[in-house]
């Protein structure tokens, strides 16, 4: 079962879970399953038109899924999907 690694910035939407196991065979399915499990996370991952937000990067292990197959990027058991949001520091 693939695991999704949740960054600090989004853990308030996942009951402070740092890692979430999901049943999924693609990156898109995994992220959808995550957004179903934690509905308040959805708007932080997807824009209103359903596109993954451009300031949220998703990596399969160490590769950006933009350069793999985006949502169709295949996942196998043992793969880690890492969400890396844009962070700036102190000021909003």
């Amino acid at each position: 079962m693939p695991v999704i690694q949740i960054p600090s910035a989004l853990r308030s939407f996942t009951d402070n879970q740092a890692r979430v196991d999901v049943e999924a065979v693609t990156a898109g399915e995994a992220l959808s399953a995550l957004a179903v499990a934690y509905p308040s996370l959805r708007k932080h991952l997807y824009s209103d038109d359903g596109q993954l937000r451009s300031f949220v990067n998703v990596y399969k292990n160490d590769e950006d899924i933009r350069f793999l197959g985006r949502d169709a990027t295949p996942l196998a058991a043992g793969d880690t999907l890492i969400i890396v949001p844009s962070i700036a520091g102190g000021l909003t």
Partner: protein, 381 residues
Amino acid sequence: MTPLTNDEIARYSRHLILGEVGILGQTRLKNSSVLCVGTGGLGSPLLLYLAAAGVGRIGIVDFDVVDASNLQRQIIHGTAAVGRPKVLSARDRIADLNPEVKVELYEEPFTSDNALRIAASYDVVVDGTDNFPTRYLVNDACVILGKPNVYGSIFKFEGQASVFNYQGGPNYRDLYAQPPPPGLVPSCAEGGVLGVLPGIIGTIQATETLKILLGMGTTLSGRLLLFDALAMSFRELKLRRDPNAPVIDKLIDYDQFCGVPKRSGSREEHPGASGPFRRMNVREVADKRAGGWRPFVLDVRGAAEAAIVKFDWAEMLIPHTEVAARLAEIPRNREILVHCKLGGRSAQAAQVLADAGFDVVNLEGGIVGWAKEIDTGMPIY
């Protein structure tokens, strides 16, 4: 290149006997220059280590003054510097640490108007900023000027570091083409940050800067380093040029690009969204309360903040990100006075409430404004 003096040879002994640096490398450092944008959490360790290492000329850009809440992590500044401009505090500390370093100060915001002029004379630019507009500005200025941009960023217990625009490698816009809209990503000012975290990330930035100046080792160009202090783990991700990234050939209005209101010199201004909710400053609210006004007071800060200080007349605590999902808990038959620390998050919550039909007032200036003007015995955090 200007050679080392005998005093410098004594000072840099441990570099000089390190064959990879040696007399040639140390002389290169002496004849090199670095611009550090920001002298906060990241800039503090950066500046200290670059100065100690003997970088000959260091520029510092910052318009802020030292605040007591900076001292938990901004270790270049001391208690006596509270209230002083950060650039002056940093200059004095560097002068004490290494008087051989020439320090150049820019006590002004880094803007599209001055960025190219300021950055032009430095070999490397280090991004020690704390906001999205300035990060994109630093990046774009470096791309236009062809200078490496040593990047670091932090939040709570996690940090990121990379080297952008170095030897044809990717830049910040390849990592994140677009900034998040305001309010969607929490900041350290509301999420907090472990004090040592910028020390680690800033020190990584200093390491990368020295490697670039010395021309040695393998930099983080093309790699994004993620650090998690809680797990004490480092992870490395591949960073590639984005073929769809726009060409950067001129500087733009970065506040507009990032969707934030124009920043003035003050950090405590949080102009909220315009909308059908009312705003009152702390004096107006104090006067109305004295006249018997009793709205339903909603605190939209986090629980950790409420544990530091709260109004004893606040009736409910709902973090601003949860307000939209918890409207049912808020009474519809009363006026709502919503507050946070400074008034920014509460303005977002007020907008949500107003859109949902509540009669809502935002407390401009927040509980800190109240502590400064109304009840000066309250702690300010």
